[in-house]
Amino acid sequence: MIASNYPGTTVGYTRGFMKLGGERVEVIDVPGTYTLEPTCEAEEIALRLLETGDAVINVVNATNLERSLYLTLQLLERKVPVVVALNMWDETAHRGIHIDVEKLKELLGVPVVCTVATTGQGIKELAESLPRATRPAMTVRSRDERWAAIGNILDQIQRLTHRHHTWLERLGDATAKPLTGGMIALAILVGAFVVVRFVGESLIGFVFDPVFSNLWTPVLLKVSGLLGGSGFLHNIVIGKIIAGEVNFVESFGLLSSGLYVPFAMVLPYILSFYLVLGVLEDVGYLPRLAVLLDTLMHRLGLHGYAIIPTLLGLGCNVPAIVGTRILESKRERFIAATLISIAVPCAALQAMIFGLVGKHGGHYVVMVYATLFAVWIALGYILHHAVKGFTPELLIEIPPYRLPSWRVVLQKLWMRSYGFLAEAVPIILGAILVINVLYAVGTFDAIANFTAPVVTGLLGLPKEAVTALVVGFLRKDVAVGMLAPLSLSAEQLVVGSVVLAAFFPCIATFVVLLRELGVVNMLKSVAVMISTALLTGALLHVIL
């Protein structure tokens, strides 16, 4: 169960199965909505799904009954049986809200169960109450009548007592105010970056590198001997042995680079990034960040909320682009998705950049990031003026700060890391296999010669570097790895990394972009990507 604090995350529904009294029933998680009069696509989907169910679990926010009950009354006016889950029950105690549950059951005429989703309290009772779901078929009311009815109900069941401003709330106010908020945001972003870097590098240095150097290398050398030290098969499995040692980055064998890249270079950063992101999500900071950045983002044609999928893109572009569904207009989604694909490097790519460019000095890494950020702003500004359409105004709820639940954070971390490995490792292995075959057959030489004028003239890179661009279609991290054996100068590595990041998306991102934007917009997006990448690379070549 993923409980993110920002509403609308469950656009695009999920289904599952559970056992109910001996029978197997299907459970569908419907996109979040506050009303059955849809104001956006997510709510239209919710309405359609409603028609297909046998029973509905109406999840109500116990800390904000007034708003939640509006939907409840609309549901009760229809012909579907309902049970109500009075969720976030633990929070009501914190906030001095007292609810007469028995009376509520009476007034609504359906089973009501108190639940705390984050701990699992009440879930069992909720499931057991499903067979007792009823439809009281209330008379259909007008909008105003419903609000009046809700007021009536609340008077009878809810009692509010005073509670003191907690330190968390004071902190909340500080982060929303412009001056302090901006400084805190900067501090948090820098802090997050430092933590991610520190955790990532520590994992590499203390865990993964030793395992590979001390345990795996001897095994590989043995296998290498068995395979004869060289030859086609040897190179595919082990890769090129350089000076009697296994260089995990440059050897390009299935068992060497194929395992080292995903596990020892990328996974540590995946773990550290998603740990930090999970904490920020759970604490409830992201909506406030969206508010702070809203004005700036409107200049780029985006909604403040778009910062959330954009930040997600720093982990992996795929869920980030899918995440743009929370934005309300097609124009926003196009701009956000294009910007993410071009200017937001995924964790895998970043890990490789740190690994390769970082060796020459931290300031080169900064150059890469600074360039990508500048591209994000500049391109956003251009797209904002070039793309027709509107970007709606910000209107979001800001949840109160709360201490993160480690259970939830670690659960999310596990799901995301596992997802990464399950998806990336097969593709990386496949990519390495394909690369080795193409090398042997000579395809890369042909391509290199064909594109040499652009690659060498415009970007200042050796013509062999184009193979990295081609591989970039499969995996960006492996592509950066392909720059390693080319003995590039630090400046060339910077140009190479930036162009790779901005160029044609990796195949996973490509598929998702196609699905989210449709063919026509996808093509437009790709055109923007290629031209931006080449232009930026050329500019960098001139400057550096």
Binding site: R67, R143, A176, P178, L394, L395, E397, I398, P400
Partner: protein, 80 residues
Amino acid sequence: MLDEKRVTLTRMAAGQSGTIVHIEGGYGMADRLAALGIRPGKRITKVSSLFMRGPVTIEVDRVQVAIGFGMARRVLVDLG
């Protein structure tokens, strides 16, 4: 006659409270706001706003909501 105590959300000072009187706009905007509890007759407190026509944060029903400048400008509030 101009009621001096009636201001738009954007003109309120941080920390002030008031009751929403009127929302200038079509049904679409009114519905979006209503879904978050922002309706005529509701009591709200302004928490903060950002310079350069940034979003306005208010507290309504013990929940904080951020509203874009253009929309906030069309919410009329009776102070006090």
